[in-house]
């Protein structure tokens, strides 16, 4: 099993190394290498999943590790930690990754840096797989950084575009902010537990080695890392810009896998979250889900809409982790990975088409802009169908995977709220449900604007055509994976995942915190959960349908005039359209603040530390005679200051050498008297 996992993990790395070095010279620029590697990994991961399914054991776990750093006192081992969670997510990652690889063959065709693109994809797959398989937080952190750099490289793939370069930089730095928290969290863990190994931490927390406020702090700080990676409020700003990257990248990294790493981390560390920590998690997630959704409504860039929807969906998952709907959250992670990847690839194929037709017609414009589209239904059937399926899944319509996971989450939040005495916690389900309506609304707004109605730009429309098989097949595969029964086998009830293999294999780990005394523990009684689930399902279905209905009213039947409506709610519209001015805010405060601060320090360094300017300037003005040696360079140098002081001193001292012999003798006489006085006293 370990061997298998190692192969899955290392094959992409090998592909990366070869590709980055000699990819250019290989036939087909070595894309087959990367695709082949990830393909094999995909198959192997299926085998692994198969074994797990055969075992059908919720507590399945394989571990193996080797020493990496050994300082006597401090020992760090590196190893793999394969439980059901890991296996399932590995499978999901390799699946999506494989499909995206295949898709890219078509999408990236003819790109000058074709080979490098695949190399990067392989590197990413390697680091992502490592991230989900490693058995210690330190290793996870390393991979965490690596996926970060991969996303940096891939977002900035079209590096000649300044916007792309900026987006990449922004993504990495914003993530670093999160990682800062992550790092501190790690340090708390290591300094108390003395190890990064997950199982060790679990025991330690159970024994109360790490407890109380520090534990909460550790939880929240580690969560900060997740906030960065999973683009939660307030660190979400990088994800929309990340859409500058090629669409397959957006699909793989910024929808399906990397951004879900935060959720994965929260799932892994669920056992050490105290109640307070969980509340923080839940509220951040909940707020984000609504917040992002409201922005998504007004965006016109097709990919940005999807980006914000991703953020909001991630918000769901995070919230789920916070309210103890562990299974639901993780479930949503997997299903979302499938249909959101699909959505991106779909949009990719639309953009692809737009792009080509723009090249043909020579019309310049943004291929991502919905306002240029419309009526593509007939031209790109496969894309259209799959796209609709994905959207339904996302909106949470029964018979699609999204429905199962999403309403599980909503039920979870509801249950949580009901189980708590404090009514304020009803906020969480409210966030969830409102977000649900909006989600359905903007998804169908997107679909209608893109595929229905009459084409807004005829000349472009003429040259629109379906993408090649190599791109559409992955779409279909993903569409298939977005159907509900995949996850409910052996049961086939569309009502919920209960009784399915997924819910059987994944169960919420016993909170290590719970075993400690004096910690408020989250407990949700069975009946509450059931009741909540039923209500949740009903409400969410109704809400989803309402959302879709609204979308149709606005954009299809045009019963409500969009323009007028927006006019009426102009301020709100503006707010949403401009993403609540978050970027501008950060730009104004953090970025320019930092730059200003740097300038100040630099000035300080040049002028204050490095020589008290006025002092040396003054001295040099008066005593600069050392022909152009020191005095040329007034503006720095404590050294210069001292130097010039000394020179000045020397100059004045040498005044006594008047050349007058009698003064000399006088000086000597005075000196003698001075000496006498000196020692008389």
């Amino acid at each position: 099993m370990i061997k298998l996992a190692l192969f899955i993990w290392l094959l992409p790395l090998a592909a990366f190394v070869i590709n980055i070095l000699i990819g250019k010279r290989l036939p087909r620029k070595g894309d087959w290498l990367s695709v082949g590697a990830i393909g094999i990994s995909f198959i192997l991961s299926l085998i692994m999943l198969y074994r797990v399914l055969v075992d059908y054991d919720p507590n399945f776990l394989v571990q193996g590790s080797v020493p990496w750093i050994d300082l006597g006192v401090l020992k760090l081992n590196m190893g793999l930690y394969l439980d059901n969670l890991a296996v399932i997510i590995v499978t999901a990652v390799s699946t999506v990754s494989f499909l995206v690889h295949v898709y890219s063959i078509g999408y990236m065709e003819g790109d000058p840096l074709y080979n490098r693109f695949f190399a990067y994809l392989s590197l990413f797959s390697f680091s992502m797989l490592g991230l989900v398989m490693w058995d210690n937080l330190f290793g996870i952190y390393m991979m965490w950084e690596l996926v970060g750099i991969c996303s940096y490289l891939l977002i900035g793939f079209y590096f000649t575009k300044d916007s792309a370069a900026n987006a990449g930089k922004k993504a990495f730095i914003v993530n670093r902010v999160g990682d800062f928290g992550f790092l501190i969290g790690l340090l708390i863990v290591i300094s108390t537990v003395g190890s990064f190994n997950l199982t060790t931490i679990h025991q330690a927390v159970g024994q109360g080695v790490l407890h109380g406020g520090l534990l909460t702090a550790a939880g929240i700080l580690l969560f900060a890392g997740a906030v960065g990676k999973s683009a939660q409020f307030p660190l979400h700003v990088w994800l929309p810009d990340a859409m500058e990257g090629p669409t397959p990248v957006s699909a793989l990294i910024h929808a399906a896998t990397m951004v879900a790493a935060g959720v994965y981390l929260m799932a892994r560390l669920n056992f050490m979250l105290t109640f307070d920590a969980m509340l923080v998690v839940a509220y951040v997630g909940g707020f984000t889900s609504l917040f992002a959704a409201t922005i998504a409504i007004t965006q016109n860039d097709i990919k940005r809409v999807l980006a914000y929807s991703t953020i909001s969906q991630l918000g769901y998952m995070i919230m789920a982790m916070g309210v103890g709907a562990y299974v639901a959250g993780f479930f949503h992670l997997v299903t979302h990975a499938m249909f959101k990847a699909g959505l991106f690839l779909g949009s990719g194929s639309v953009i692809h088409a737009m792009h080509h037709s723009m090249e043909k017609t020579g019309i310049h414009g943004d291929p991502n802009d919905m306002r240029q589209m419309g009526g593509f239904r007939k031209k790109m059937p496969y894309t259209h169908i799959t796209f609709v399926i994905f959207s339904l899944a996302l909106s949470g319509i029964p018979f699609f995977s999204g429905f199962l996971s999403k309403d599980a989450i909503l039920g979870g939040t509801l249950a949580f709220a009901m189980s708590q005495s404090n009514p304020i916690h009803y906020l969480l389900p409210t966030f969830g449900f409102v977000a649900a309506i909006i989600t359905a609304f903007y998804m169908f707004r997107l679909i209608i604007n893109t595929f229905y109605g009459k084409p807004k730009n005829e000349s472009l429309f003429k040259h629109i055509h379906e993408s090649p098989k190599v791109m559409t097949i992955p779409l279909m595969a993903l569409a298939f994976l977005s159907l509900y029964f995949i996850y409910t086998i052996p049961s086939i009830s569309p009502a919920g995942p209960e009784g399915g293999w997924f819910t059987h294999l994944i169960e919420r780990p016993i909170s290590a915190v719970a075993t400690q005394l004096g910690h408020p523990v989250l407990f949700i009684p069975e009946h509450t959960e059931h009741a909540a689930h039923v209500n949740g399902m009903l409400i969410s279905i109704i809400f989803a349908l309402t959302g879709i209905l609204l979308a149709y009213l606005f954009y299809y039947w045009k019963k409500i005039d969009v323009e007028k409506f927006t006019q009426r709610i102009k301020p709100l519209y503006a707010l949403s359209f401009n993403k609540y001015y978050m970027d501008e805010l950060y730009q104004a405060t953090v970025v320019s603040g930092l730059l200003l601060w740097n300038q100040m320090l630099a000035w300080f360094d040049l002028h204050v530390i490095d020589g008290i300017v006025n002092g040396s300037a003054w001295v040099v003005r008066n005593f600069s005679f050392m022909d152009g040696w020191i005095d040329k360079y007034i503006v720095d140098g404590l050294v210069n200051l001292v130097a010039n002081m000394t020179l000045a001193f020397g100059k004045s001292v040498r005044k006594i050498e008047t050349g007058q012999i009698q003064n000399y003798i006088l000086g000597a006489v005075l000196g003698a008297f001075f000496i006498i006085i000196l020692t008389m006293i």
């Binding site: 930089k169 730095i173 930092l594 601060w597 630099a602 050294v639």
Partner: protein, 501 residues
Amino acid sequence: MGLISLATFFPVLGALIILFIPKEKLSTIKIIALVFSLGSLVVTTFLWTQYQYGMIGINDESQFQFVEHLAWIPAFHIEYFVGVDGLSFPMVWLTSLLGFIAVVASWNIPKAQKGYFALFLLLDTAMIGVFVSLDFFLFYVFWEVMLLPMYFLIGIWGGPRREYAAIKFFLYTLLGSVLMLLVMLALYFNVQDPVTGGHTFNMLHMMQQSNHNSWLSRFDVRFWLYLALFIGFAIKVPIFPFHTWLPDAHVEAPTAISVILAGILLKMGTYGILRISYPIFPDIAKYTSYALAVLGVINILYGAFVAMAQSDLKKLVAYSSVSHMGFVLLGMSVFTSAGINGAVFQMFSHGIITAMLFLIVGVIYDRAHHREINGFGGLAVSMPVYAGVASLAFFAALGLPGMTGFIAEALVFIGAFSVYRVLTIIAAFGIIVTASYVLWTVQRVFLGKLNPKYESIGDINGRELFTLVPLGLLTIFFGIYPLPILNMIKVSLNYLITLIP
């Protein structure tokens, strides 16, 4: 003549030979320089294969390896006493490596090549000498001998403000070392040689507190001596208020010399503190550790912030060194195994990484003849290979996992956090700033629209690649598999921290 001495004096031998070659025979001179610097590298590498892990060193002569112990000036108790342990050997090897690489890097040095290579080889010897000598007097001699070639190398072959930078460097470091001289003499007279009962310059005797006489056991005395010694080393590191020589020296020096400056000379400061100050004055080291930690944090953040504000690529790299040396200081100041091992590992890793960075700056400077960061842009289009290597180096600098820098910094953080929580958290803030200035630089130089000026600029050539690739491989290799270094240093360092009360 043992192998250590061979490794030490092999380069200067080359220097002597070069002196007797007419300066017209350029290629011969270069070849000799190459051969002799390489020879030293070969010897040290061979020594590595002979190195016995698990021998402690620090303050016990029997625990040192490749020891040579001869009388030099018996009347003054000066000995020729050299040897290596886990603390010094990585530095020795690094020195010989960078020495060799620097020779290759300075292949096309414009003028007066004969003098250049002779001086350089002399410098090489002096640097190795500093790391191997265990007799304080010997140490001091090597330490000072280093200054002369450095002065000329910066002053003659440097940039426009070279004369100023050279003299500034010379004065700063001399000021530091004369204080060291006084401390050395004070120790000489107040430490008793347990064998002969006379005075001694032997560092290892000085480390035995029992050899200190009553005067030297007084707290205030120890404090002032420690302080004087510390200033001497702090100037080399350079620690915050004493760092102003560094930007000038680095910017004006020719590429190869910047590599040596940043790669080796900066390490000597911290090496000196670890090798001399700590074992001889453990109590004061403990007493002042918090101050040192604070200075370390200041270095980290201050260096990073100021680096971000620079518009000169080389200055930026120079300030990044200030920032990175801060990690060494922080790690040293906590006396935890992780911390101090991280610190020394950082010394090694930064030696490699900063060397790469300066070489990279040199490459672009040779082509564009300026270092204005904003004057470039989009170079990744015209020089893809160069861009690749450069980004590797820059990522290494921002502490990317899988490279040495990451492990070093992580260890430092781990070690420091358990002692100074708040300070460590403040220091950790540095990783954000570092990321910011590194990526910002990469973007301004390599990304974006290609600056039309550099459409026809040539990509990095074989020789330059030859200087960079080994270093790159090293960072990655030791980043993934740090044990060879860690196993070597940990034994000595874990023992060293036990000396601290």
